[in-house]
């Protein structure tokens, strides 16, 4: 089928401002948006720049605005979209070229929540035991692939770039509710301020945007509750 794309292009080496360009490519209905972008890049315009790798929604490289919604280009099929398919970089990060944005501030926030297991006791010789229920408690937030779709769909983040953002909170949740972790207090402290969890206004955009189906707002809510109660 003929598929038309409208892509917001920006090359700092050439352009003063971003501008739209239109393309038509021949695709199978079962092709992904990513297949379309690769086709454009390979056949029509080799200057188009985007990040991508796994092509099936696991590596988190290709989150972008597709028809106005944050999604992974490799996880939407062209047949399910209205044409022309509009493609823009994620909002709220600096655009470096075309669909490539500066992710460094995003990862800096990720690092700020101490995203690693903190243990004070030496581990046993074999595995630490954890019941299936304890493991289930934080299963949802282990799925995060750090694509940035949630954070860049959040109005609280757009209006305040210092907000730590849903993705970093999801990562904190993954440890706070892990029965093996002993760093809960430090982590809760990092999130317990104006640019921490309290900036969340439960708009639910993040839940909509998450390509991994994580219930981000619920995770944030659970941390708020833990802070309110003073314990996990």
């Amino acid at each position: 089928m003929e598929v038309s794309f409208k892509i917001l292009r920006f090359d700092p080496q050439r352009d003063a401002r971003a501008h739209w360009e239109e393309y038509e490519v021949e695709l199978e209905p079962t092709d992904r948006v990513l297949d379309g972008l690769e086709e454009i890049k390979g056949r029509l315009d080799g200057t188009l720049a985007l990040r991508r790798s796994c092509a099936h929604g696991i590596c988190g490289s290709d989150a972008m605005l597709i028809n106005g919604r944050n999604r992974l280009a490799c996880k939407v099929l062209v047949k399910n979209l209205k044409q022309p398919i509009t493609i823009e970089p994620m909002r709220g990060f600096n655009v470096l070229k075309d669909l490539i944005v500066d992710m460094e501030p995003f990862f800096a926030k990720y690092r700020s929540v101490q995203p690693y297991l903190i243990e004070k006791d030496a581990p046993p010789e074999k595995e630490r035991l954890q019941s299936q229920a304890q493991r289930e408690r934080f299963d949802d937030t282990t799925k995060c692939i750090l694509c940035g779709a949630c954070t860049t769909s959040c109005p609280s983040f757009w209006s305040n770039p210092d907000y730590v953002g849903p993705a970093a909170i999801v990562q904190a949740h993954r440890f706070i509710f892990d029965s093996r972790d002993q760093g809960k207090e430090e982590r809760l402290k990092v999130l317990n301020h104006g640019d921490g969890v309290w900036r969340c206004r439960t708009v639910f955009n993040c839940v909509e945007a998450c390509p991994r189906g994580i219930n981000v707002t619920r995770a944030i809510g659970e941390i708020k509750q833990a802070l309110a109660r003073g314990k996990v």
């Binding site: 790798s53 470096l96 690693y116 019941s131 493991r135």
Partner: protein
């Protein structure tokens, strides 16, 4: 010329690279260079599990694991290395748990385990539960956990640095050259030691489970510097890729009870492997599927068969295989609880690679002479623990065990080795390559050549091979090489010039395809994943040996080295 100086550099930030970095950076000044942001590495897509004889649910021993690995590899496995891997697998899995890896759990809170293809109890008697897993996203959890530990430990990263050359001066390693993707600038990394952990090369083939970025860069870069590649004719096709797309459906789907069926609904694996059936090793199952299709028993006479999960409890599917359920729904519009999944074999794993010993030191000849300061680990390396066919769950073990050993060995090496001077103008070769590409005004595009390469390799050098087809493939490769010299880039900027990087990647794929096909043509026998229709039998008398392929101008020259056999004498391989 911008130069960074380190004791050692690690190229690649997948499981192997990160594990090596955690070890090496404890005692030395180390940098990790990766063309992808670390968490984008392909280790993150591994689904099914990591094999280790923990014996959490039933009796198991690392010796059984070792036997299965050797038999699975059709006796081309170096048994000393396999012994180390299977023994150390147990401790490394505990170490991952201690780092925080969220494994799924047994009812009594231990690490959960499940059966996987070719893994058996008592030397082949029946399937055993050996694959340690975190739902069907084990690789994601491994990658995340290792990266988390790197943050904790303050490891230095150069993210989105694309390595294009290895620096060697008078036979001694002294660093690497990389393009900073954001700026297009070249950087020289001057170091006493370099460890390659750049992953696989599945993008040689049209249908593959491998990421778009898995273009065998590390293998090609060292090969161009005169280092051989080992056993490149052995490329694994995983039986269950999503039809036409190649996206992987983990073997765990069969581990949990899934069944392969042909046109008439028959469970055809019963005819090919009476004991293990659907859980036979991958090379056998992929061949069986090709045969069914050739003999007209594909679904509707087409080139696919069905993976049937519909008889499984939907709770099991949702709890243990959530991601693959999501893939099948997203990409095929099918609910695997209700309908069978159309599948076909998909190019999955390079058994071959940069030859190493069990400390991940690169060895460059028939006598296994180590090249000082050069290391490789993970899928780009060939230890060889996978021989002619890798068992499922054994790559994750490989990357963790040998990533760790390599990191330690590199850490020790740089303590006593001096920093060698750089060659004069270390970036010249790279600059020339880039200039050639920028200056070319030919009419060829990277995408078109790549497309042709992938289609032809799939057709002529995949599951079944013959001398005639391989010969044709070599001719085609010569033609593609010719066309490559006429590639013209549209993007002439420096910043994020993805077209330029793809041109480098294609160059690497062409190089590796030539090695694969030449090695495959020479090996006149069938062993593991290398099935020659004109030589259908394994021939131990002539071919129980590893191939070493060297670059010889535009050609490939081949040498051979013996296989290490310690505990298990070669036998006929039946399942």
């Amino acid at each position: 010329m911008a130069v960074h100086e380190f004791d050692g550099i690690i190229i690649g930030a997948g499981g192997a690279g990160l594990m090596a970095a955690l070890q090496a950076s404890k005692s030395a000044k180390i940098a990790v260079l990766s063309k992808l942001y670390p968490t984008r590495s392909h280790t993150g897509t591994a689904q099914g599990g990591i094999g280790a004889a923990l014996g959490n649910l039933e009796e198991d021993h690392w010796e059984w694991h070792m036997f299965d690995t050797i038999k699975g590899g059709d006796y081309l496995v170096d048994q000393d290395a396999a012994e180390i891997m299977c023994r150390e697998a147990v401790d490394t899995v505990y170490e991952l748990e201690h780092m925080g890896l969220p494994f799924s759990r047994t009812p009594d809170g231990k690490i959960a385990q499940r059966p996987f293809g070719g893994h058996t109890r008592e030397f082949g008697k029946a399937p055993v539960q050996r694959s340690c897993y975190a739902a069907d996203r084990t690789g994601h959890m491994i990658l995340q956990t290792l990266y988390q530990q790197c943050i904790k430990q303050g490891v230095t990263f150069f993210n989105e640095f694309h390595v294009v050359d290895l620096l060697v001066q008078d036979g001694v390693v002294c660093g690497a050259v990389a393009i900073e993707i954001a700026t297009g600038e070249l950087y020289t990394f001057h170091a006493k030691a370099v460890l390659f952990a750049t992953g696989g090369s599945g993008r040689m083939y049209k249908i593959t489970s491998n990421a778009l970025t898995l273009t065998g860069d590390g293998m090609a870069v060292v090969y161009r510097r005169g280092i051989p590649l080992e056993d490149m004719e052995f490329f694994q096709f995983h039986p269950t890729g999503i039809y036409k797309m190649g996206i992987l459906i983990t073997e765990a789907a069969r581990g949990e009870g899934g069944i392969l069926r042909n046109n008439s609904g028959e469970r055809f694996m019963e005819r090919y492997a009476a004991t293990l059936k659907d859980l036979a090793p991958r090379d056998m199952v992929s061949r069986a599927i090709y045969k069914e299709i050739r003999e007209g028993r594909g679904i509707g006479g087409k080139d696919y068969v069905h993976l049937d999960l519909t008889h499984l409890d939907s709770k099991v599917i949702h709890a243990k295989l959530p991601d693959i359920t999501d893939f099948v729904e997203t990409y095929m519009g099918i609910d695997p609880v209700k309908s069978p999944i159309p599948i076909q074999p998909t190019a999955h794993y390079a058994m071959g690679g940069i030859p190493t010993n069990s400390d991940a030191e690169v060895v460059i000849d028939e006598k296994n002479t180590a090249m000082p300061g050069l290391y490789a680990a993970g899928e780009c390396a060939c230890v060889s623990v996978h021989g002619a066919n890798r068992l499922g769950t054994n790559s994750l073990v490989d990357i963790i065990v040998f990533g760790r050993r390599g990191g330690k060995a590199l850490g020790r090496f740089v303590q006593q080795a001096p920093l060698q001077p750089l060659p004069p103008d270390s970036e010249k070769a790279t600059r020339d390559r880039i200039e050639r590409l920028f200056e070319s005004r030919g009419s060829e595009s990277v995408a078109r050549i790549r497309e042709k390469l992938q289609a032809e390799m799939m057709d002529k050098a995949s599951v079944f091979r013959t001398e005639g087809e391989l010969k044709k493939m070599l001719d085609i490769l010569r033609g593609l090489r010719q066309r490559y010299s006429n590639v013209c880039l549209q993007d002439r900027g420096r910043k994020f010039n993805m077209e330029l990087l793809e041109a480098f990647e294609l160059d690497h794929l062409l190089e590796l395809s030539q090695v694969t096909v030449t090695s495959a043509m020479a090996r006149q026998e069938s062993r593991g994943a290398h099935a020659r229709e004109d030589f259908p039998k394994r021939d131990d008398a002539k071919w129980l040996k590893h191939t070493l392929a060297y670059r010889d101008e535009e050609l490939v020259s081949l040498k051979y080295k013996p296989v290490s056999i310690t505990k298990f004498q070669p036998q006929e391989r039946k399942y």
